[in-house]
């Protein structure tokens, strides 16, 4: 680790406090050797309107997704991207973004697929930084290129595919993090995303409904450990040691939940099913349940 951790009392309660930094911490460490700040937003132009000084932009569409296949970029492309952003393999990366760090968590999850060790989120993200009146700039840094090694993406630990979900149906908990209307099947898409639809609405049998943003407080920071335990263990019924698969529509909102379950609550085997509803809801002959109840897994 090249940059020290944020020892804020709130973070100490979490399973992996080293995965979060506060806005105060970041403001005090901007420009530190070995630290690169990354902004990752829903809107590809938001960074250009003003960002945290020194921050570089990584866009989930144009940088992290393969332009042809529905897949993430290769190890070669990832190495090239990070090298250009001035990120080395041992660099401390702090990612932040808009909308409760929705896309920042997605970027962090993809960094994890490539085994980048020290990657953290800014608690509260872009919104909190701005709400506190902290400095923004439109200056785009031009980092000196760095050699980032080509590392093969490891899809086996934190990523789940449709086949994995089918094989685990009835054997382990699923968390559906979409809105209640998507879960029940009233709609196949969320408002404003008419182009990311599925042919059939509903949810995967047995999945518990926990909309992703419940993990965030009104100021966009993560809820306290106690509050998160009440939601995911108390309400959704997860138990320590469970292997969990989370899904949403294309795997972005569920990256946020993956982060919460893995790094804040300490579940060790959480996978994000990034095919999510756009795949499941269009696949042939996979089981689907409509309505507010979790539903039964069909007998094999």
């Amino acid at each position: 680790m090249t940059v020290g951790f944020d020892d804020a009392a709130k973070f100490a309660e979490y399973a992996h406090p080293e995965r979060l930094v506060s806005t105060e911490w970041l403001a005090a460490h901007l420009g530190d050797e070995g630290l690169v700040v990354v902004e990752s937003d829903e809107d590809v132009l938001l960074y250009e309107t003003g960002h945290i000084p020194t921050a570089v932009k990584i866009d989930w569409h144009t940088d992290l997704n393969d332009p042809v296949l529905r897949d993430f970029v290769s190890g070669e492309r990832f190495a090239q991207l990070l090298g250009e952003k001035g990120i080395g393999r041992d660099t401390t990366v702090v990612i932040y973004g808009d909308k409760n760090n929705w896309w920042a968590a997605y970027a962090l999850w993809i960094f994890t697929l490539f085994g980048h060790e020290d990657v953290r989120l800014l608690d509260g993200g872009r919104d909190k930084w701005i709400a506190e009146g902290r400095e923004l700039t439109t200056d785009v840094p031009t980092p000196a290129a760095v050699e980032y090694p080509v590392v093969a993406r490891d899809d086996s630990k934190v990523r789940a595919f449709k086949e994995d979900v089918l094989a685990r149906l009835g054997k382990g908990p699923l968390i559906d993090v979409r809105s209640p209307e998507e879960y029940s099947g009233e709609r196949t898409e969320i408002p404003g995303y008419p182009t990311e639809s599925a042919l059939r609405p509903g949810h995967i049998p047995s999945a518990a409904s926990v909309p992703w943003a419940r993990a965030a407080a009104p100021d966009a920071t993560f809820r306290t450990r106690e509050e998160l335990e009440a939601i995911y263990k108390g309400e959704a019924g997860l138990a320590d040691g469970d292997d969990v698969i989370a899904y949403c529509r294309i795997g972005e909102r569920s990256s946020h939940t993956w982060f919460v379950l893995t790094h804040l609550l300490g579940f060790e085997n959480v996978r994000n099913y990034d095919g999510s509803w756009t795949e499941w809801g269009s696949a042939v002959r996979v089981p689907i349940v409509k309505g507010a109840d979790r539903g039964e897994v069909p007998a094999a």
Binding site: D43, L45, D59, T195
Partner: protein, 146 residues
């Protein structure tokens, strides 16, 4: 097959984008975003604007008017935090200004795909502008004086 020429303003916007490098196209889109005109007074209290859309990434509101001369006027608003959406809306507001109903309806549905933005902002996002153009045409159809 006849190829209908694009209305002048849309053609100029298209030429302007295509003359630029990818990065500069993003900057131009941002300029459009910054220049999206404010809604006229008569729409500022429109109830649709206060409808809370849960999880909506970039709520964009379009208002279409068709004058007695059959000329279409488009007004749009989207939050400052959604500059891409604002940019898309501003392109349509500027590009469709002063066109008649028939001219607006004749704009090719794939116009957004011809601006060279797919690589800069991703094809999926460009589809957001296609949807916006579709919604605009739909409103024009509804409001045309038959």
């Amino acid at each position: 097959m006849t190829i209908t020429a694009l209305p002048t303003a849309l053609q100029e916007i298209k030429d302007e984008f295509l003359a630029l490098e990818l990065r500069e196209r993003l900057q131009l889109l941002l300029e459009f975003a910054n220049e999206l005109p404010e809604l006229p007074e008569r729409y500022r209290d429109h109830p649709d604007l206060f409808e809370r859309v849960v999880e909506c990434q970039s709520p964009v509101y379009l208002f279409v008017e068709v004058g007695d001369d059959d000329v279409v006027q488009l007004f749009a608003t989207a939050p400052r935090e959604s500059p891409t959406t604002r940019g898309f809306a501003a392109i349509l507001v500027e590009g469709l200004a002063g066109l008649t109903v028939d001219e607006v309806l004749a704009v090719p549905d794939d116009f957004p795909q011809t601006l060279g933005l797919a690589e800069a902002v991703s094809p999926l996002r460009v589809r957001g502008m296609t949807a916006m153009l579709g919604r605009t045409k739909h409103q024009v159809q509804l409001k045309r004086h038959s």
